[in-house]
Amino acid sequence: MTAPLIDVSHLRKRYGEAVVVDDVSFHIAPGECLGVIGPNGAGKTTTIRMALGLATPDGGEVAYTLDGTRRTMPADALAIKARLGVVSQFDTLDPDFNLAENLLVYGRYFGMKDAAIRARIPQLLEFAALSHKAEAKPGELSGGMKRRLSLARALVNDPQLLLLDEPTTGLDPQARHLMWERLQLLLQQGKSILLTTHFMDEAERLCHRLLVLDHGRKIAEGRPRDLIAEHLEPDVVEVYGVGALALAQDTALRALSARVEVSGETVFFYTAQAHPLLAALEAHPQLRTLHRPANLEDLFLKLTGRQIREEG
């Protein structure tokens, strides 16, 4: 078995009294995409910052095996970062440079020669679907374009492993789909990705495995489909409309479902057999029902609760 590209073991971080990352371990195999999901304040960004050697852990170890050599953070930070590509949560593009200059200047930080960077710029801009904007400045770009430029910039050194902190937050659906397509392309090319996200459809679509964090702790880990099968009934019936909330206490309906949850004006019936439940609900034609398979969002809300978090 090849060594994992990144091997994080028993990572721990506290700020004063608050433990923000508590005994988190995970690894990423070559070619794999690992998604880290969790509510705001779950410790996702702090974990990434420690993986990058930007924050110092209070315990545990971050080791990388890139190009066959095992190295640890932060002692070998420079050698490790030479083979990483990073897109942080907020764009750090240079507003005074056009797009081509942004890529050129960033490549220099890796010690690359100007000629080598210039040779890569056209393909990087093409990858980001920004070839027509080479002379534009970041201020003239849409949010999606900026994120794609940040991704292209992270690829300037042809990294083995990409660390992406919420790469699609704040993007419209078109821009998000284009970003997904690009990330799929990178996975097909054999790159590995660590991705944090708030979007469950993104996590389900892109990630081979998921890590669920809450209050700094790992509360679940596995393949998306396996996690859903393990934690949830296969079917969900959502009921909403005037009088829907009263149904949550209806003993007949409760008997037909494994679990009932209420969120806002909607009642969620979780069940392995939806048809008897749907038949019983026909007695309430004024209510609207939605029958669907259980998904990652249901799993996420089951594991982390439906309450709004402080920062949310």
């Binding site: 702090t46 990058l52 930007l54 924050a55 420079l78 960033y106 220099r108 930080y109």
Partner: protein, 269 residues
């Protein structure tokens, strides 16, 4: 791993040549704005020189410097060039560096690449010193054109003024590391730099100061700069050059170390 978390922010600087691409980045931005920034950089010092040098100079006449009488404009020019180096370095290492560090998050982007914070701080320090040298060069050019001094020893004043820029960018980076916003820098200018301007013998000889104040003023970095540069304008060699160079060096090295420690603390999450 635990020994890493206790590594002190005061540990020795770890510097490498990775500062160079960061310096180049600033140079590339500045190249696009060089001409307008040149006008801003030299217009103000020249106004001081014209207003005070020719205006006040007509009232003052000559200034007694040791055994020599010197026209006031020459006295002022040789001091104010040090002030220009100080101001140019301070502005760049405060307002501009803070923009890159805090507002644009340029430093964060750079540190996702294989560049250490220590090298970023070194690059900013040298960049601010370069800006000071550039400003000083332009002002020297105008002073030569105005015929204020034609001393060949101005060639020596040039690297000395680079050293002045280095010293003041190191000091300014301490305040950059402590700043929460741009307002903080106003204190630095009004409480530190402006009093220093009046205590360092730029506008009048330090002999005019009360003895106690003068004893302190002798050791200010701007005084050391003036003591080194002024004689060179008069085609003489400075008295006690090693002492003054040592003052500048001590301020530079000590401040850089403090600035680096405070910046590391700021970035240590």
């Amino acid at each position: 791993m635990s020994q890493v978390s206790t590594a002190s922010v005061w540990s020795a600087p770890r510097l490498s040549m990775r500062w160079w691409p960061v310096f180049l980045r600033n140079l590339l931005v500045w190249r696009k704005l060089a001409i307008p920034s040149l006008v801003g950089n030299i217009a103000e010092p020249l106004m001081w020189l014209v207003a005070f040098g020719y205006g006040l100079g007509a009232l003052v006449g000559q200034v007694q410097l040791g055994d020599q009488k010197v026209p006031y404009i020459l006295f002022l020019a040789s001091g104010s060039i040090c002030m220009s180096a100080m101001n140019a370095a301070s502005f760049e290492a405060l307002y501009s560096a803070f923009s890159r560090m805090h507002v644009q998050k340029t430093w964060d982007g750079i540190m996702n690449a294989p560049v250490r914070l220590d090298d970023v701080v070194l690059a900013e320090m040298l960049w601010a010193a370069f800006k000071a040298l550039f400003t000083v060069t332009a002002i020297l050019g105008v002073m030569l054109a105005l015929g204020i001094s034609h001393s060949p020893k101005l060639l020596v004043a040039w690297p000395v003024l680079l050293g002045v820029g280095i010293t003041f960018s190191c000091i300014a980076l301490i305040f950059n590391a402590l700043a929460k916003g741009y307002d903080f820098f106003t204190y630095y200018f009004t409480l530190f730099l402006t009093p220093m301007m009046f205590l360092s013998g730029i506008f009048f000889p330090r002999e005019q100061l009360p003895p106690l104040v003068r004893a302190v003023a002798e050791w200010l970095p701007l005084s050391a700069a003036v003591e080194l540069v002024r004689p060179l304008f008069l085609d003489r060699w400075p008295a006690d050059p090693l002492r003054h160079l040592a003052v500048l060096a001590v301020f530079a090295v000590g401040s850089f170390w403090v600035a680096l420690a405070l910046t590391r603390r700021r970035f240590r999450g």
